[in-house]
Symmetry: C2
Subunit: 99 residues, 2 copies
């Protein structure tokens, strides 16, 4: 399975449509350097970036969020033995709350 990091995911797409970091960073209203670090996984992405990223990279917001969440969870909780069960439980609770 792939397990692509968030950084790789947006970098790949950015190169695909041939936008320089400069442009994308400007659209997100952050420094070029910051975005570079996010793409290389040196820093985590802020959730604030997700919406604008989906816009300028012409990606489905749902996919962007999904990739972001999966990546962050594996980084934040990677060490826990019972992560799978915890996620299932979290899902249940979220669904029940969404009503």
């Amino acid at each position: 399975m792939s397990t692509v990091t968030f950084g790789d995911y947006i970098r790949k797409r950015r190169e695909e449509i041939e936008l320089p970091l400069r442009k994308v960073a400007a659209y997100l209203d952050i420094d070029t350097s910051t975005l570079s670090k996010v793409e290389r996984g040196e820093r985590p992405a802020s959730p604030d970036y997700l919406k604008p990223l989906s816009e300028i990279l012409e990606l489905d917001l749902k996919e962007v969020q999904t990739t972001y969440i999966a990546d962050k969870i594996s980084k934040d909780f990677g060490g826990l033995e019972h992560l799978s069960e915890g996620l299932k439980e979290a899902e249940k609770q979220i669904k029940s709350k969404k009503r």
Copy 2:
């Protein structure tokens, strides 16, 4: 559905078996005050607490972790529209990695 916070969960159990904060905190090797804040949700629990908590509170580690994860996820990602999908995806990736 309940959606019990991690703090409520361990406080309830601690009171059930009638241990003072003092004792539990000592076992976790943290200040009483810190544990008090964790129980009341004023501060997040450190993952380091989970194992010792499960021991001194005589709880299944799996349940402790699960509650911790569910709580933290809802706090960390509460705002995202596509959280459910993201969690499913994260689960998939974790499972595939566990091989």
